[in-house]
Amino acid sequence: MYSIIRSIWLTFLHAFHKRETVLYPEEKPYLPPRYRGRIILSRDPDGKERCVACNLCAAACPVDCISLQSAEDDDGRRYPEFFRINFSRCIFCGFCEEACPTYAIQLIPDFEMGEYNRQNMVYEKEHLLIDGQGKYHGYNYYRQAGVDMGVKGKGEGENEEPPVDIKSLLT
């Protein structure tokens, strides 16, 4: 008997508490930077596309909603010829971001993606690519990789010796 009255009392008290709900959409809630919302493709500090079209995000995607094709520019730099995410299938699990070796694909705190027409949920590269670096600043994959794809010469990357002179026996 006592516990029932206590419960009613406590519930009643909530009527005078500060409200947890907000009046969305007039009032927007705070979402932390690592909130898993809409997916974007970011650029590296030089302003070039970070995505190297390695296909790891597509492979990691549990609902297989990412599709892309790699291409190469004149320097041999890899980029996605097209990059498509079918958001009507996406479950915002963030596996793609985890799989991405270049910080290109990122989930951002934006969830307002409702559409009347399901076809509009299919995002192509032009809808995904932003002009900034997103959450992770200062990283340029091609400076870490061994390949020479127009960003740096052979042996000019971070943690690289100059190329071996194979004609020398001693050094």
């Binding site: 296909n55 492979a59 076809q119 994959y141 020398s168």
Partner: protein, 924 residues
Amino acid sequence: MKNIVPGGRMIKIEINGKYYEVKAEKNLLEVSLSLGINIPHFCYHAALGSVGACRLCAVKKYRNASDTKGRLIMSCMEPVTEGLILRTEESDVIKFRAAVLESLMINHPHDCPVCDEGGECHLQDMTVMTGHNYRSYNFKKRTYTNQNLGPFIHHEMNRCIQCYRCVRFYKEYAGGKDFDVFASHDHVYFGRHEDGILDSEFSGNLVEVCPTGVFTDKTLKSHFTRKWDLTNAPSVCVHCSVGCNTIAGERYGILRRIMSRYNGSVNGYFLCDRGRFGYEFVNHENRLKKVKIRLSKNENPVVAENDQLQVSLNSALSDNKRIIGIGSPRASLEANYALMNLVGTENFYHGISKSDYELTKTALHILQNGPAHSPSLKEIENADVVFILGEDLTQTAPMIALAVRQAARNIPLQAGEKTGIPRWHDAAQRDRTQDIKSPIFVANPYQTKLDELSREPYHASINEIAKLGFAVAAQINDNATSVKDVDTRQYMLASEIAVALKNAKNPVIISGIHCGNKEMLHAAANIAFALEALQIKSSLCLVVPESNSMGLGMIGGKSLEDAYRRIEQGEADTLVILENDLYRRAEKEIVDEVFQKCKHVIVLDHLMNDTASKADILIPVGSFAESEGTIVSNEGRAQRYYKVFPSEKSVPESWRMIGEMIKIVRDQIDHPWKNFDQVAKEMGDDIPEFSVIHQKMPGNGFRILNEKITRQPLRFSGRTANSAHIAVNEPKLPQDHDSPLAFSMEGSNEVPPSSLVPFYWTPGWNSAQSINFYLDEPNGSMKGGDPGIRLIEANKNAKVSFFEPDITDIEQKPGEFWIIPVYRIFGSEELSSKAKAVAERIPEPYVLMNEKDIAGSDKNENGSANINISGKEIFVKIKIDPDIPLGIAGLTVNLPGMPFLNLPCSGKIKFASGNSNNQKPGRP
């Protein structure tokens, strides 16, 4: 290999607490892999043997049950011994392997995302398998500059882990000369002495042999797709008569690459570059996609609308005197059979020139009725004496040349085994062998790449080589007739060859129809028959020009010239041409006239060519990647290729399209064949030789636990996004009613029958090395037997009857040269020459001549010449061949742009001066 070692003694050993019976002549790594036990390894490759260089395959060996300490050994260097106990997963072994891998990874770059090997990388697999998950090396990494190795192979030397597999394959296995290891200590470099195109015809195998991404497929790079994203199908190479097994992979409707599909009896682990890189004709911009119809004779054909095709076919197939069907040696058995069904047996013609037709028939006759066995590639590899007559194997059937290179090692390997060095102990065997080779004899008019294996290469005219052949046969067996005018050199050489062949256990005679001489085939047959008469098991390999030449020969039908005659006589006025460019088979004037006389020309093909451009009704059909079919290799092995991806509706399979035409001709409502199986079955009923194909090949009803076999790996990505830009609702998956394979990742994960393996994958092994788990032992046969059904078996009961030599003197006119055909691996084959990468390797047309023949006209090697063959002039470069006999000139044939020439024949050669002539070589 299992056939070679006599006895095949079995030994009992214990691995990880379980007892196994294993073959005595194997090493521990081979044994473990064949038992399905994972042991990480790098430098060991089943086809190359063991060298013990990478130290990764460490395991712990205990001498017997009383040995408690054990010792760490390299499993690839350790023979199996009775009663030994092996532990592959002890903590110190695991630690050792992780340490080895860590040191190999020190300089390996952070490249995987942009590396084409990623996802099928042996190094990635090994890193995971050894448990070396995080790098602790914080210092600078070594770098190298790369080389441009030509249109096939991309070089990225930073990724190298110094396993030496590439040089071992390229130099030692494939006999390449322009690739090596340079520099010293931790700076070793694998590449050429300078940038340049890799010269070997087998360079593409570096892609599969290299355990990392140092050598990757440049054609794949231009439309890169990860292994897990490819839709694959088991396929068969269509670029020569050997019938190598391939895996073809597709994504987004583009054929992406060809990988080798293991067939222990045929190509094993490898492929030639024509087979690997020739696939891009499927993606060619000149692919036919729409039906084109010529509304009246003088108009250009226009794209057909709606039911226009039906109407045109109706009128063409009903309003005519007689329909003649021209088949093709590059179309499948079923497509050719369907055409024969449409036009009737008496109106079916082989789409090959008369000389090719007769030679193929002769070859087939020899193999079907003679006592000599037609060897598989594996059997050629196991030969101890090889005699090659008048066939430049490296250019016409490259994988046979690779097999002959292995045969050259057999005698020294056997000698090595007698001294106690096991066959797999590659480094020791090679050190012991030095330059010793099995007796290989090469007789060819001009120099070939296999000459280097030959003790005394014999260069003479085709007639002289045939004479040599007959002389050899006569020396082996008195009943074989020799030719009269054998000169001393021929006699001496013939006795040497005869002695070698008589002492051989597995002699192989190789010849072929590329030299264009029937007597050569007879001579080769006589040698094999002579050996058989002495109870020596001999093999006779006859090379034919195209992927299904043998099969077409077995179907029956008449030669192209007979068809032309009937059209000229007005007996027939409608032609149905199946996947064949007649301008490659006969002189332009003749073909033009035939087309002129025809009321209707119906062409079914996949690429635009001269014949297709003359068609009144041009119907696009699927290439090997978009249809299924069976082709018969020169060995007589029937093998089936399957659709890699469903073709567009407007591009049906040839057999299906011809079925539509049969409907019209017979005025039926139903298509004569519901699916591919029905064509195959009906073909077997009509042509008894082929009935075994339908009986033995798994049909479309084949299931594993009620499920189809998946064309796509489990990790296939993008299912719900690939076509989302067209419509967000996912369409129904395309269905395949013609085979037991599904265009899906859902289905059976069991290992399918060997002829239906669409791709290789084993848990832990994403790289091509996973092949080993599909075999009964490394380098052995596929589990359940190698794919393919042999249709040609020697007639062992046949009474040996020798061919009488009938060598007619060549009709060489005075002052003229005798011009013989020279085939090129890149260019002489029709389909592969349309592939972009292969096209870059096609040489300019040239003529091979003896220096002395040119010296008379004071022109140097860089000169060019006008060749006049019965009034037809061709302008070509001159190449010097010091060994080609005087008065004989070898002219490259079938290169793009060259007209058809009926070689060999007599022709005039006029020397032009240097490069002053601006004419493009090859143009008339």
